[in-house]
């Protein structure tokens, strides 16, 4: 089995249009949210982490952002590799504008053309866990020797159906995201385009050891504690590690009253000695299908540069878990988690080489 390295990364999110600017913005304490208006009785104005790039033509905006993060990740080096596109919303924003068709193949062909991609293209949609599942699938192909390079591209851009859907399910905060916070009242969504370049021949600072995805249908929009525990166990097993080897967990902790509590319950059950915990949701919002790759891009850069998110919210002591206030001293093994719709629970494990 060939080792799989994280050879490149790119990110456009509310914090900035590349990894460097995003880390710099986080170092300065982050950025404020913009506002998103929705129609109807349950509508109104919601905070939103928009990418600071003019919103005009959806396709042109997406093309610019995709090209930017892909180039930052070094995609131009591996155009015959495997491309994984991870999204929960495809180009529905373009459909709203009348500039895209509802057609999966047209969507993947369009992005492949933007990137001048000649290798195989897969589009993964497992809602919010899409880019972590794309990473897991990419690692499997690379481990099996079916390819040497892969690019995981997470795309979630402004569209009304997603915001409206989350609002109708009453999952959105009216104020701010408070991960594991005492007064948490919901999610703040955001946009992100993220790229992680994986390679079996180009060693790098981070290696992907393994991952796991556990679908549990008992909660259509939420997490289950048994599935969270099973996800951790399977991810550790796939990475040939035990719980005590994990130094840092990037949690989901999006500020949801129910899901944060379930995640904390799972953490307590799976990790007798709790590793340091970090959440990036307050800094960049929950970027759904792009979030796994986006948060890994940001977190690995933060760890390399000693930058850490600040949490304004008061921690909820009843959860029995707490986010680390500063960069942990020694981080070798990182477990990154996303929990999503469709009872999807996914984690991957990275090792700093």
């Amino acid at each position: 089995m060939k080792p799989v390295y994280l050879a490149g990364r790119g990110l456009a999110c509310a914090l900035g249009l590349d990894v460097k600017t995003s880390v710099a913005a986080l170092r300065q304490g982050g950025v404020s949210t913009s506002s998103y208006s929705l129609p109807g009785a349950l509508g109104g104005s919601f905070p939103y982490h928009a990418i600071p790039f003019p919103r005009n033509d959806w396709n042109e905006r997406a093309r610019t952002l995709v090209l930017g993060v892909a180039t930052e990740a070094g995609a131009q080096l591996i155009r015959s590799g495997v491309l994984f596109i991870a999204t929960s919303s495809f180009d529905i924003g373009g459909v709203e504008q009348g500039t895209a068709q509802m057609d999966y193949s047209a969507f993947s062909n369009k992005i492949a053309a933007w990137l001048d991609w000649s290798g195989p293209v897969y589009v993964i949609n497992t809602a919010c866990t899409s880019s972590l599942n794309a990473l897991i699938a990419a690692q499997a192909l690379l481990n099996a020797g079916e390819a040497e390079d892969a690019l995981v591209l997470g795309i979630e851009l402004d569209n009304q159906p997603t915001m409206g859907g989350f609002a109708s399910l009453q999952l959105l905060s009216s104020g701010s995201s408070k991960p594991f916070g005492a007064n948490r009242d919901g999610l703040v969504l955001g946009e992100a385009v993220s790229a992680l370049r994986l390679s079996t021949h180009e060693s790098a600072q981070w290696q992907m050891l393994g991952g796991a995805n556990v679908v549990d249908g008992s909660q259509p929009t939420g997490a289950s504690a048994t599935a969270v525990v099973s996800m951790y166990q399977r991810a550790l097993e796939a990475s040939c590690l035990t719980a005590d080897a994990i130094d840092l967990i990037k949690v989901q902790a999006a500020g949801s009253p129910g899901n944060d509590a379930v995640e904390a319950q799972g953490l307590r059950a799976a990790f007798p000695k709790m590793p340091s915990l970090v959440s990036l949701k307050a800094a960049m919002g929950h970027t759904m299908g792009a979030s796994g790759a986006a948060e890994i891009a940001l977190l690995t850069a933060c760890l390399e540069q000693g930058v850490w998110p600040e949490y304004e919210a008061v921690a909820d002591a009843e959860l029995g878990v707490e986010l680390a206030a500063s960069v942990p001293d020694r981080v070798r093994h990182v477990l990154a988690t996303i929990l999503g719709f469709g009872g999807s629970h996914a984690s991957v494990v990275l090792e700093r080489t």
Binding site: L38, P39, G43, A137, G164, S168, V214, G217, G343
Partner: protein
């Protein structure tokens, strides 16, 4: 090179006229508010599992689902609803293809790895599934509700002792009732006819 034996299948392309009645019978009740796409998927997946003699899947089995058009019909409804108001919550959930994976997991009291791949050809879906499949194999589905509908499913188990008799086949042969084994090769897929 991975070889699979086909231990169960549902080839419903198009589905039979009474597929909704059959689904109600399998579920024990009429499905509510899950949408046609998910209903058609449940029908095919449960038929396939019944054909394989399974009421649930082993914990290490995986579900891989592909579709050319996915939940477009449900997405159209949400776009229409958004003209004046927020979408209905269940309508929004129906736009997420992976909801079917959760419904199937709940119906079969199973927890495990399941993934939706949009737009890929069935052979590409099989290639992804094969790369991750373990000893308990894969439930692989191909689903579309448009153009008459399609709910084709295979229960695939890894097989180490399938002797000869394989021949190169076009991708469409994956869902033929005339094959007992299939294996991925670099150039595509090889199948073994039913003895």
């Amino acid at each position: 090179m991975k070889t699979f034996t086909i231990s169960g299948r549902c080839i419903a392309s198009p589905p039979p006229a009474d597929w909704r009645e059959q689904l109600t019978q399998m579920l024990g009740a009429k499905p509510r508010r899950i949408g046609t796409w998910a209903e058609l998927g449940l029908y095919g997946a449960l038929r396939c599992m019944a054909d394989a003699g399974e009421k649930t899947l082993p914990p290490q089995a995986q579900i891989w689902l592909g579709s050319r058009r996915g939940t477009y019909a449900a997405t159209d409804i949400v776009l229409e609803q958004l003209r004046e108001d927020l979408p209905m919550p269940m309508a929004f959930l129906q736009t997420q293809p992976s909801q079917l994976l959760a419904l199937l997991a709940a119906q079969t009291d199973w927890k495990g790895h399941a993934c939706f791949v949009a737009g890929a050809e069935p052979l590409a879906l099989l290639r992804l599934a094969a790369a991750q499949a373990g000893k308990d194999g894969v439930l692989l589905g191909w689903l579309d509700e448009m153009d008459g509908g399609m709910s084709n499913w295979l229960r695939l188990r890894p097989c180490a002792d399938a002797a000869g008799g394989f021949h190169v086949a076009p991708a469409e042969a994956l869902f033929s009732t005339q094959i007992s084994h299939l294996r991925l090769v670099n150039t595509g897929v090889e199948v073994k006819p039913v003895a």
